[in-house]
């Protein structure tokens, strides 16, 4: 601990916590003050996380010991490349959702802004923590805030979906606790790095129990990541949530992915002895099934918010399957995919809310019936208008172009980053494969490409229904503060496409560090001072 820069690591947790507390003290009525605090906090978070990202190169792993307690007694925060990347993503998405909410959503219910800050605090904490129990605590902070966010605005649909969301996540938390306590009972520690160092030494007769404990914990992560068959709650909840809440909720499913990446690669890397690679087949199979289920859900849905929810499933599945292959280069591609899909899905959730305003209530049902029954009798009258063509208002054109960009990003078509990400996942799979390419590789390739096709079909169909063939064009009233965040997220996706070279190099370095966690272990355990007495 020397110099103020060491405290940077904890700042992304402290800033939103203080901001949230200050907002509660200021009271929900003083809207201008709360918004000012919120803007300040979000700008700080973005700046801090970018600073951490820049600094994540040297030294590779920064640790922060709370209260300067020796590592294994106190709480450790660890910031490495992966954490920094997730922090930046959270910050950008948070900023976009926050600005978007200022137009009207923050007035839809009480305490939107404090909840939003606590949500960010939980997310940042989960990305930074170095031990399993604090991961649980930050999961809970994040979830408690997300319950409020999912229910924000109230209404029958939200309460109904929120009830399922709450119940499922409470059960997941209980599973997490069971897993944590089994791991503690066998491993004798909850510090991830220490646990990783101890796993090869676990006695043979205890190994099964330890793996079972970690598997139970993994189920809790996979419920967050919405792996099939644990993810049926996701499309309904995300579709029902208010747009800015849904955008920030969409990164919650990536927390599950992050936890898998962090814990699984750390504990079951090649150094883990007999446990190395435990559960890889399950991740791969589960990921493929999730892609399949997500693609069917994408095709089956007529309703735009559910479409976005289903594409979260597809992206989770793709990530899980890619991680399950356990190859460094594929993980790098998966990280690139994760970055792109967080931005694209966030933009899509915000965009949908704006696009839906141009439609009348029940337009979905009308679209379905028209598709099923064919064009009705109103064809004759429409001819005159069709000859001159219907002018598309400017704002709808912008929204339509944004929607198109989201479709390209999510379906993985060139020229945007979605294509590069899928290519980065598939190319090493085929490049390093032995001559008769394994069945799973073929399956993975088919799943990725077919899910892209399904997404494309669904998005094109939805886009035509919303932007080209509305029954009556109603120009939506869209304010600049609502359009700007969508454009920001899309611009970031564009930047990711243009800067794909440096971005992929960063992801490659991250993936290498994840697959060979020696640096992580040394940074955390090397800081261990001489321990009084023996550890249990």
């Amino acid at each position: 601990m020397n110099g103020w820069t060491d405290h940077l690591v904890i700042a992304p947790i402290v800033v939103p916590m203080l901001a949230g507390a200050a907002m509660i003290l200021a009271g929900d009525r003083r809207r201008r003050l709360t918004v000012a605090i919120g803007s300040l906090s979000l700008l700080l978070i973005v700046a801090l996380s970018i600073l951490l990202l820049v600094q994540a190169q040297v030294p590779e792993v920064r640790i922060y010991r709370l209260g300067d307690w020796p590592t294994l007694f106190g709480i450790v925060l660890v910031a490495d490349r992966l954490s920094a990347l997730m922090l930046v993503l959270t910050g950008c998405l948070g900023l976009a959702a926050f600005v978007f909410s200022l137009a009207r959503w923050h007035r839809a219910g009480v305490y939107f802004h404090p909840l939003f800050q606590f949500q960010l605090m939980g997310l940042n904490g989960a990305f930074l923590t170095g031990d399993l129990f604090n991961l649980f605590v930050f999961f809970e902070v994040m979830l408690a805030a997300s319950y409020g966010m999912a229910l924000h605005g109230s209404g029958v649909a939200r309460v109904r979906a929120g009830l399922h969301y709450l119940t499922i996540n409470l059960v997941a938390s209980l599973l997490f606790l069971v897993g944590v306590s089994v791991v503690y009972g066998i491993g004798g520690t909850l510090n991830m790095a220490d646990l990783a160092a101890r796993i090869p030494l676990v006695a043979v007769e205890d190994r099964g129990l330890l793996e079972a404990g970690l598997a139970v914990m993994g189920v809790a992560f996979l419920i967050k990541a919405a792996m099939w068959p644990l993810g049926f709650w996701l499309p309904g909840t995300y579709a029902a949530a208010a747009a800015p809440a849904a955008a920030i909720l969409s990164i919650l499913s990536k927390v599950g992915i992050y936890a898998i990446l962090r814990v699984w690669l750390l504990l079951f890397g090649p150094e883990a002895g007999a446990s190395a690679g435990f559960g890889a087949d399950w991740l791969l199979a589960g990921g493929l099934l999730t892609i399949g289920f997500g693609s069917i859900a994408v095709l089956a849905t007529q309703d735009l918010p559910r479409l976005a929810g289903a594409s979260v499933l597809v992206s989770s599945g793709t990530l899980l399957a890619a991680i399950g292959t356990g190859q460094v280069a594929v993980t790098a591609g998966a990280l690139f995919y994760l970055t792109g899909s967080v931005l694209a899905i966030g933009a899509l959730f915000l965009l949908i809310e704006l696009a839906e305003r141009s439609r009348e209530v029940g337009a979905d049902v009308l679209a379905v019936t028209r598709e099923a029954l064919g064009p009705g009798e109103d064809d004759g009258e429409g001819d005159a208008a069709e000859e001159t063509g219907v002018a598309i208002p400017g704002i709808l054109a912008i929204l339509g172009l944004g929607f198109m960009a989201c479709a390209l990003l999510l379906a993985g078509l060139p020229p945007l980053s979605g294509f590069l990400a899928k290519f980065a996942i598939l190319s090493p799979l085929l490049g390093t494969a032995p001559t008769p390419v394994a069945t799973t590789t073929w399956l993975m390739m088919a799943a990725l490409i077919l899910s892209g096709l399904a997404t494309l079909i669904a998005m094109v169909r939805a886009g035509i229904a919303v932007f080209w063939a509305p029954q009556a064009i109603r120009v939506p009233r869209v304010r600049v503060v609502e359009l700007a965040p969508v454009l920001l997220l899309l611009a970031l996706s564009g930047a990711l496409t243009v800067g794909a070279g440096p971005a992929l190099a960063y992801m490659q370095a991250t993936a290498e560090a994840l697959h060979a966690p020696g640096g992580y272990l040394r940074a955390v355990l090397g800081a261990r001072t001489a321990l009084p007495g023996g550890m249990p």
């Binding site: 029958v156 309460v159 009830l163 399922h164 059960v171 938390s173 944590v180 306590s181 503690y184």
Partner: protein, 114 residues
């Protein structure tokens, strides 16, 4: 001692799971409570079980580290109790809201068609 504790955890968890799968929101919430009791006991038990041990020190004995119960599971159980208590309270509010908005206490917000 081990048998009683494991039977207790098992019965609590079993009833909790059964109630969790019931269609009424109140049954679900009670099921979650029972499950969280089971999990708390389970966490507590990972610290190791002893019978007839002194609370802190035996009379006339010099304490060693081995005499103390492992404090970490206790801290975990305490945190877990607080968190599950708070989230259950929140669930109760959502349950009431759901009852008020949908007019039924079915978990799906509507009665199953018979």
């Amino acid at each position: 001692m081990e048998l009683i504790l494991s039977l207790g955890i098992g019965v609590l968890a079993g009833s909790g799971v059964w109630l969790l799968l019931r269609p009424r929101t109140f049954q679900v919430i009670i099921g979650l409570c029972l499950l969280s009791y089971a999990v708390n006991l389970f966490i507590f038990s990972t610290g190791g079980l002893r019978t007839g041990a002194a609370a802190i020190l035996q009379r006339g004995e010099v304490g060693t580290l081995a005499d103390y119960a492992d404090p970490l599971p206790q801290a975990l159980a305490l945190t877990a109790i607080v968190i599950s208590f708070a989230t259950t309270a929140l669930l109760l509010v959502v349950l009431l809201a759901s009852r008020g908005l949908t007019g039924t206490d079915h978990v799906d917000g509507r009665e199953r068609n018979r």
